[in-house]
Amino acid sequence: MKNLLLIAYLDVKESLRSKWFYVYSVVFGGLMALFFITGVSDSVVMGFTGLSRTLLIFIQVTIIILPIFILITTVKSISGDRESNVLEYMLSFPVSLKDYYWGKMLGRFSTVFLPVFLALILGVVFGMLKGGVLPWKMIFLYSALLFSLSFVFLGLAFFLSTILKSTDIALGASFVVWIVLLAFIDIALMGLMLQNRVSDDVVITLAMLNPIEVFRIGAISLFDPELTVIGPVAYYLLDTLGSTWLIVYAFVYPIVIGLLLSYIGYIAFRKKDLL
């Protein structure tokens, strides 16, 4: 445990010095500031205005940027260290593979989750300054969903980073996974439905398996409990699960998948050659 926390701490310190961390923080913090500066929060679109309008846009941005940011910055953590021989040196010290792997994951999770979470808080503070009411429940649930989305992609990144030995291949695989998941939140799902070649159940299942879609539905349902702003799949899920279970599913499912992927990554890390 001592070494696990040490590895996590050192990973955080290393990340805080990296350029990617600054870009990542500036993108999320800057976007939130931009929403307010440009008056996005004052506009009214489909009944949303103020803080809820800002957070709704933040969700859309998060859906696109957060997964790829996490994948790109994290997928290199183990495969990159392996290629540059950093892993060879660091693991020549008496540190268990368990401590190293989970410590790295803990450290990296802190650095990918905190900027997004702080951007959310920044948005809430801006909203409050403009005279809004503090929506505690919504902020709590939204933070939980962000946590869950960050976790699943971190798990995926560690899985790819361990399974694939080359950084280039791991990066390529990340892009493919991201594009496919993104395509299946709307375009591909709608295409499948329109073509009527697959049953509706398949389309619903695909939507429920896609962590980005699950996050999107869960997060938007916080603002629009009837889910009138997104498509029929989301509406069907809401109708089948009910609003509470929909949120529970949107939180738990990505965590489970993230845990599963990171655990498979850990097993591969232990069972395969380290270098």
């Binding site: 040490l6 290393e14 040196y89 020549s92 593979l97």
Partner: protein
């Protein structure tokens, strides 16, 4: 017996890199391991350090399996890689890692660094990778010598050192506890001739020569 590799075989993508290698390292052995590129020298060292899962055979270091008991095995091994890795940690952070994971005192590392003409105290916030090649290597040597090990493994340790640095390094090696074993992977036997008492020659994944000097 400190370490033993018995009938060890390892292949990468169908190519046998270690072919029934048998190797014993006894207490006090000072070994120069030589051989052409691709002979399997680094692979056998990495297998001893628990980085590779061997296809067949058996490896024991201090009686333990380097894969199953890696923490126990690595407690007593110091390793210096051929090229200093581009570790992004600052020197202070790297020293914290070494101190806490291996119970080495920072003062001891400072002491060994000074003996290598490396001033660490004023550079603790500097990222390790920003040091010059020679300074990095000196720091790795200082760390390795500070650790209380019974086996020191050096993979071409002087590749980045200037002649003065090499001289210092060899001087420090003469002061190592005689019961501690050393394994040098090298192409230049003449440089370490006075420091070794055994030479092993590897080729095509086999130990082809193993003799006392």
């Amino acid at each position: 017996m400190l370490a033993i590799a018995k009938d060890v075989t390892k292949s990468f993508m169908g190519t046998k890199v270690l072919d029934n290698v048998n190797l014993t390292i006894n207490q006090g052995d000072r070994i120069a391991m030589m051989g052409p590129n691709g002979a399997g020298k680094t692979t056998i060292v990495r297998a001893l350090l628990g980085f590779y899962h061997i296809d067949s055979g058996e490896i024991r270091v201090n009686g333990a399996d380097p894969i199953k008991d890696r923490v126990e095995v690595l407690k007593y091994i110091s390793f210096i890689p051929q090229l200093p890795p581009p570790v992004k940690l600052s020197i202070g952070e790297l020293l914290s890692f070494v101190e806490k994971s291996s119970a080495i005192s920072r003062e001891k590392i400072f002491l060994e660094s000074e003996r290598m003409d490396l001033d660490l105290k004023n550079q603790l916030n500097k990222p390790f990778f920003k040091l010059s090649g020679g300074m990095k290597q000196k720091l790795l040597i200082a760390i390795a010598l500070s650790k209380k090990s019974n086996l020191l493994i050096f993979d071409e340790p002087t590749a980045n050192l200037d002649p003065k640095g090499r001289e210092k390094f060899y001087e420090l090696l003469t002061e190592i506890d005689p019961s501690c074993s050393t394994l040098f992977i090298t192409h230049r036997l003449d440089e370490i001739e006075g420091l070794v008492n055994r030479q092993i020659y590897m080729d095509l994944g086999k130990v082809v020569e193993d003799e006392k000097i």
